[in-house]
């Protein structure tokens, strides 16, 4: 499948348009302005649409340099999936199976060294209970290695209503993505404390938290 970059770009614009038509994909920048700085956005994970929603909520200039993480075995299993993740979204592929000789974070580290921004879902899996699960440690290691990269918490709201588990067609319901204040790894802060703080920062962005 050798589609030209123009097709990929058009597909990207089309997908963003569809996402906005269905969900509004409203971005609320509460804690930081949308700026072309190197960032790691981390958010709650409830649906397959989460990435598309964050992506559509970003201003168009930021989309090209902001990359999602995709599971290599699943997202390269067909030419279309491969094209979608690599040409349209420019995803960073990771292996889900842990091998002894490779650090699973290596592709992410490479991307960050490259100057790209990342969107990660530190829960690792989708939760549909409303409360996010405990964060996995990847975020901590990235924060440790890249202290100059801003860590932006984000809360994606309402998306589980758009496409509940097991359904394939999304229902048009308005969603929003709230971006919070950048987080910093404190000197000497231990892993558990940092991950809990990061999770609290995401939960605090939930509208009507109370």
């Amino acid at each position: 499948m050798t589609a030209s970059p123009v097709v990929a770009q058009a597909a990207g614009l089309f997908l963003a348009f569809i996402a906005r038509l269905i969900t509004g994909a409203q971005g609320h920048w509460l804690g930081c302005p949308p700026k072309a700085e190197q960032r790691i956005y981390f958010a709650n994970h409830q649906s397959h649409l989460d990435w598309v929603l964050i992506w559509a909520a970003l201003p168009r200039e930021l989309r090209a340099m902001t990359r999602p993480i995709a599971a290599k075995d699943y997202w390269t299993s067909s030419p279309f999936k491969q094209w979608l993740t690599s040409a349209v979204f420019n995803a960073v592929y990771v292996n889900r199976q842990r091998t002894d000789d490779q650090d699973p974070l290596e592709p992410l580290v490479d991307a960050l060294n490259n100057g790209d921004s990342l969107v990660i879902f530190p829960e690792g899996t989708r939760s549909n209970k409303g409360e996010p699960q405990a964060f996995k440690s990847g975020l901590f290691h990235l924060a440790e290695q890249f202290p100059q990269v801003q860590l932006i918490p984000a809360w994606i709201d309402n998306v589980q209503r758009v496409m509940p588990k097991g359904e394939v067609v999304p229902v048009p319901i308005l969603c929003s993505v709230t971006f919070g204040e950048p987080l910093q790894l404190q000197a000497g802060e231990d892993k558990r404390a940092f991950l809990e703080r990061a999770r609290d920062a995401v939960v605090a962005l939930r509208p009507h938290a109370g």
């Binding site: 509004g24 309402n158 048009p172």
Partner: protein
């Protein structure tokens, strides 16, 4: 007036829009000039000014929408209002807290009922158009919902969806229907009917608003609206009826007919808005497009709500009274 009559319907409608946009430009120009001169940092005046600016922008947008609807013909008008229906229904559903098991019913409403209803409008199938949602969809939604196999709050959930469909799809689809309604002998003047409807409904709303401020009556239902009183409603609707009578020459109505039709349309619009207020209180929001709310909605529903209620009542009154059969 006689030279006006000699123009074709097409030219009259064009003239209508020229006057409308001219008046709007004038008002905007004056507002801009006064805002340049007035430097007093008065909070109350500032608030009033902001509200006025917002309303003026809304009027501009709706004027442009109606112009587009007229210019683009039956197909364009149908598509345009179809999009508005979609956006309004999206907003409605967002705030109505549907459950997971409503998914299929909502899909049916969004992707089958909405396009079909507007296809019926576009093809002028007014008989089927009038009964499609109240009769067929009324059954289809609960059937699909029952097959989802979730009995929890079944009636409530279905009522919410049915309501949304009635207001946002059925009600709003009557606006393009008015554009396409054919009066014998006056071809292509549907735009005047829509204009008549919008002007009278807006007049009623504005006068009612002004009246509640000067009258300071006890509200009828304090829990729902702190401003609604029967006196203000009646004055507003009466003012709309007067304005409608003055406008009768642009419609197929005679003066007394225009008075009655304007009264009906304006009354339905303002009462409809009152009902929407109750719905909003129930959903726990101030405005449909509350900026602090989850949705980031634009508040379209607030703008179109009076039209959603006024348009069907007006449409069917006209159609029944004049015995119009397409």
């Amino acid at each position: 007036m006689s030279s006006l009559k000699s123009l074709s319907a097409e030219q009259q409608v064009a003239l209508l829009f020229v006057i409308l946009f001219g008046a709007l430009a004038l008002v905007t120009g004056i507002a801009f000039a006064t805002s340049l001169r007035d430097q007093r940092p008065d909070l109350d005046a500032q608030d009033r000014h902001d509200r006025f600016k917002r309303d003026l922008r809304a009027v501009w947008i709706s004027a442009v929408v109606f112009w587009l609807a007229w210019v683009s013909g039956p197909l364009g008008a149908t598509l345009l209002f179809g999009v508005f229906s979609f956006l309004a229904f999206r907003e409605f559903v967002t705030l109505m807290h549907t459950r997971r098991s409503d998914h299929r019913s909502l899909l049916l409403a969004f992707f089958a009922v909405l396009p079909l209803q507007y296809a019926l409008v576009g093809s002028r199938a007014f008989d089927l158009f009038s009964v499609f949602i109240p009769v067929y969809v009324f059954l289809a939604i609960p059937v699909v919902s029952a097959f989802a196999g979730d009995p929890t709050r079944f009636l409530e959930r279905n009522a919410k969806i049915q309501w949304g469909i009635m207001v946002c799809i059925f009600g709003l689809s009557h606006a393009p229907a008015l554009l396409l309604l054919e009066f014998p002998g006056v071809h292509g003047r549907g735009a005047f009917l829509v204009f008549f409807l919008v002007v009278t409904a807006a007049t009623a709303q504005i006068v009612q608003e002004a009246q509640t401020r000067s009258l300071r009556r006890n509200p009828v239902a304090r829990q729902i609206s702190r401003s609604f009183s029967w006196r203000a409603w009646f004055v507003g609707t009466l003012a709309a009826a007067v304005v409608g009578t003055l406008l009768h020459w642009i419609t197929p109505f005679k003066a007394p007919q225009a008075l009655a039709m304007a009264f009906i349309a304006a009354g339905a619009g303002t009462l409809g808005e009152f009902v929407m207020k109750a719905l909003k209180r129930d959903a726990g929001v101030q405005h449909w497009g509350n900026a602090a709310a989850v949705t980031g909605a634009v508040g379209l529903l607030d703008r179109v709500a009076p039209l959603c209620f006024a348009a069907p009542v007006f449409f069917h009154s006209v159609r029944w009274y004049f015995k119009l059969n397409p």
